[in-house]
């Protein structure tokens, strides 16, 4: 293929976008709407995923230390725990602090218990966080085997339930995103297919005056690429604008520890990249596939 032919195909592909006026508009707007949907969905799902991760990271193992342990042994235990693989954070809380926490947590009613401050029936405790929350139960089993450990608690049931909820929403979300991606691809290529179907006579004529398949194909491929890219512009702009806005105004209002939005900066660029890639690839792929059956003249 000569260089000038490449230039010609590029020019022709670009011209076609203009020539097909209404059809271009219909295709681009189908791409726009589909990618907008996919983009919004991705943003929401990735954030929910993030909530889940934050939730998981709140999981702590409580290690109650035998009352017979000396201060030295207590310190040594702490160091042993810190060395266990998978442990990422360690916090110490004496039995006095523990009692204070308990009384506080019982509210007004707790005041009745304050007389036990002299005769504290509680234990000193270590609070352990793991690098990967899924390792919690394994680390807990290990902790149980240590000397001077009287009891290990980590809300087994609650953690399992939490993980289940997180897993379910994550899987459902993944399935939806995957389904939506396929739908987006299908719809975009379907739309392009129909617009090309409407031009099948033209393809026939081109073949009849001696054009090779690739000569006909290239401008269509470039047109498809452009349709996809043009269609990705609006969704990216809207999502950029909308997410920045949401991040700036909504997140200060949420005072929760785990419901936090992902920071705007690298996140949005990734989304933009995904959208433009999907638009461009599906656009090209869609037109290539669609003209195939009309090239047999």
């Amino acid at each position: 293929m000569k260089l000038r032919t490449i230039a010609r195909h590029l020019k022709e592909g670009l011209k076609n976008v203009g020539r097909n006026g209404w059809m271009t508009f219909a295709s681009v707007s189908a791409v726009t709407v589909t990618l907008l949907l996919l983009g919004v969905f991705l943003v929401v799902m990735l954030n929910i995923n993030n909530f889940g991760r934050n939730l998981e990271e709140d999981v702590e193992i409580k290690v109650y230390v035998d009352l017979t342990a000396t201060d030295e042994q207590l310190r040594e235990l702490g160091e042993t725990i810190r060395d266990i693989p998978g442990v990422s954070q360690l916090r110490y809380s004496s039995k006095d602090e523990e009692l204070k926490n308990l009384i506080n947590s019982l509210g007004d009613q707790g005041k009745a218990w304050s007389m036990f401050e002299q005769e504290n029936p509680l234990y000193n405790a270590y609070f352990v966080k793991t690098s990967d929350p899924r390792k919690t139960s394994k680390v807990a089993e290990r902790l149980k085997t240590l000397d001077f450990v009287s009891e290990v608690k980590y809300g087994e049931a609650e953690i399992k339930r939490l993980f289940k909820v997180v897993d379910i929403s994550r899987n459902v979300g993944m399935a939806l995103v995957l389904g939506l991606s396929f739908t987006a691809m299908f719809l975009i290529s379907n739309t392009i297919k129909i617009t090309i179907f409407a031009r099948r006579r033209e393809i026939e004529i081109m073949k009849l005056v001696g054009a090779t398949n690739w000569f006909i194909r290239w401008p269509f491929v470039i047109e498809g690429l452009l349709l996809g890219v043009f269609g990705a512009v609006t969704p990216i702009a809207l999502i950029y604008w909308g997410y920045s806005y949401a991040y700036d105004t909504v997140s200060p209002m949420i005072d929760s520890s785990f419901i936090r939005l992902l920071p705007t900066e690298p996140f949005i660029y990734k989304i933009a990249g995904v959208l433009i890639l999907i638009g461009a690839l599906i656009g090209m792929w869609g037109s290539t596939m669609s003209i195939r059956k009309f090239l047999k003249v």
Partner: protein, 228 residues
């Protein structure tokens, strides 16, 4: 040289359009194909540039066997031909200029040559002033002349024309016939299906008469026949 051996053509809906045709057209010949409506003239012609494949028999054009020609090679066959289609087959979204240029673009001609040649042939069919119109903005006869311009722009070795003057007034028809004669004189083989008795009877050439898909007459300097 065009050669057909025992060619039959049955369309998918069961119609037998061509029923055993044997014919040889030598390089540089000028041949009229005549016959009543639905006789099989267009089918006969369509098989030459392989819009239609014969059901059986062999077709050879300049040594290329069309019945065994690979799909991939078909475009190269068509580039050596010029075709005027009965229904014009112009690209509706391209301007007149672009339509004619297309036949040169496919052979990767240089832009300078394309421009020169296209304006040359548009001038020849007297439609230079319509270069920037779309086919839908032309009269029937103007569209037909664009189709003619496109068929000769690549100086083909064989010109195949299916009723190229059906939408033209007699004066314009003669102008077009002048062009064809000149091209023929320069060595181009011409096969032309026509209903125009006046032309056939005036510019005497070989006449192949088809009826019911068969050649019923083949005369070297024939007339139209079928007196009304």
């Amino acid at each position: 040289m065009i050669e057909m051996q025992d060619v039959y053509k049955q369309y998918k809906n069961g119609v037998h359009a061509i029923n055993g045709i044997n014919v040889t057209i030598k390089s540089g010949e000028f041949v009229y194909v005549v016959g009543p409506s639905g006789a099989g003239k267009s089918t006969f012609i369509k098989m030459m540039y392989r819009e239609e494949k014969p059901t059986s028999g062999a077709i050879l054009i300049n040594g290329i066997n069309l019945t065994t020609l690979k799909e991939r090679k078909v475009p190269y066959l068509r580039r050596s031909l010029g075709v005027v289609f009965q229904d014009f087959k112009l690209l509706p979204r391209l301007t007149v200029y672009e339509n004619v240029a297309y036949a040169l673009e496919v052979i990767e001609e240089s832009p300078k040559n394309i421009k020169r040649r296209v304006l040359e042939v548009l001038d020849l069919v007297k439609l230079k002033h319509r270069a920037r119109s779309l086919p839908g903005q032309l009269s029937g006869g103007e569209q037909q002349r664009i189709s003619i311009a496109r068929s000769i722009v690549n100086s083909p070795k064989v010109l195949i024309a299916d009723e190229p003057t059906g939408n033209l007034d007699p004066d314009t028809t003669w102008d077009i016939m002048e062009i064809f004669k000149e091209i023929n004189n320069r060595g181009t083989t011409i096969v032309m299906a026509t209903h125009n008795r006046e032309i056939v009877n005036t510019i005497r050439q070989r006449v192949i008469a088809i009826e019911g898909g068969k050649i019923v007459r083949d005369e070297m300097r024939g007339d139209y026949g079928y007196e009304a």
